[in-house]
Point group: C2
């Protein structure tokens, strides 16, 4: 008899942004697989066991979780944000795709969550209020030339661009290079939002024009949102500026 495999997202880190559905899934499982800092967000009971692994061992972690679920355990795989956005749901599906036939019999329950770009957007206005794209800037899993091609297409299309995994110790120059590429296509006034730890006590939100955007403002916990030429800033006395992208496209700013 196979167990269940829950794949959940904790949301951005603020417990008030985790859905009741996800909380219930966590309550139903007894073994938890995930990156340590995400597991730290859970209040586990004494009968619930954590198996922490490094951030880059996603396929190994998915396989380990599936093996335990196939053996009858109720298992939970934990991502930050939403599990379907640059996170563990795809790793588990890939492990099933390539794995033994019995893994296809495991009951899979995926609960959606609030992904980082939504939390950042909510704190600053509505930068994602018009067409947008979301890209991982990590070249661990795809060639850098594919990333640069996509950045150019996205800017030409007029998408607002949300960048996940913008920078890390092992990838220090990619975000600066991405800004340089985008400056070739987009006007310098386009707002760039550095949204770090949105909704958490250590939150830090910075907005600067693309022409002056400094990659050093980002770290691993930052989601970077680059506006389109239509994205606007609304100054407010005594309150943070609002940044939003109008629902209507007029093309006037081109």
């Amino acid at each position: 008899m196979t167990g269940r495999l829950f794949i959940v997202g904790t949301g951005p880190g603020n417990p008030a942004q985790m859905t009741p559905e996800t909380r219930e899934a966590i309550s139903a499982a007894t073994e938890f697989f995930g990156y340590g800092p995400y597991l730290d967000r859970l209040d586990l009971r004494a009968d619930q066991h954590r198996i922490a692994s490094d951030n880059r061992e996603e396929l190994d972690r998915a396989q380990a979780a599936l093996a335990r679920a196939a053996a009858g355990a109720d298992v939970c795989v934990v991502s930050g944000g939403d599990p379907g956005i640059f996170a563990m749901a795809a790793a588990v599906c890939e492990a099933i795709d390539k794995g033994p036939a019995e893994w296809r019999k495991v009951d899979l329950v995926i609960t959606p969550g609030v992904t980082a770009m939504l939390a950042v957007a909510a704190r600053i206005g509505a930068p994602l209020g018009h067409d947008f794209c979301a890209m991982s800037l990590s070249d661990n899993l795809k060639p850098w030339e594919v990333i640069t091609k996509r950045l150019r297409f996205a800017a030409e299309a007029g998408f607002v661009i949300a960048l996940y995994n913008p920078i890390s110790k092992a990838r220090p120059w990619q975000l600066g290079e991405a800004f340089a590429i985008l400056r070739q296509v987009l006007p310098p006034h386009v707002p760039v939002i550095f949204g770090r730890a949105a909704g958490r006590p250590d939150e830090r939100l910075t907005v600067m024009p693309l022409g002056e955007a400094d990659a050093n403002r980002a770290d691993m916990a930052t989601c970077v949102i680059i506006g389109s030429p239509e994205t606007r800033i609304v100054p407010r006395d005594g309150k943070p500026d609002l940044v939003y992208t109008p629902r209507s496209f007029t093309g006037e700013s081109r």
Copy 2:
């Protein structure tokens, strides 16, 4: 003394997918502005008043809500899904941008939510596990030529494409035309997901290859996700197929 303006998203409609933060914001307000079916999702108290309006009157609704908040009321503007994705947060920001100076003094609290594409993705696997874009297919707010240009760029870029507002009585042919355009760029095997009312009792999920995709499968409550050439289907005996896009891009499928 100005009141507060909460801008919330109910999530896809399943109450277990609404965050505690959003529930708390709803509890703190006394006047609710929104499209009737979204307001119907709330369990309002006797002292909480609903002001329902039609789906296409977003800017008017935002202005009415701001006027009440500026007059001192605690007001809540309600969207389905996430308020920042093709929804009311951008309409409120636009109303502030164009409105009287006192509207900039209103305390704005935006709570993020689970947007439709995340709920659909979670029910079927991980189609958004790699780079993707989200577009509204409505040509009420932008020219059709802008939409078709973006569809081509998105497909050329290799993005998975999530389409919001794919079809309505007033816009019956646009989705079929979008499929026709995408067939010129993408291979016919690319999976297309029609995700209707994900997580609700009337949920309906259908997957078909782009070569056979039939626009009549969609209605106003459907989010359509078109895979990339890398998106894969995992058949499972006695369970629904999984659809996922691998985290790694190899280019082998091209």
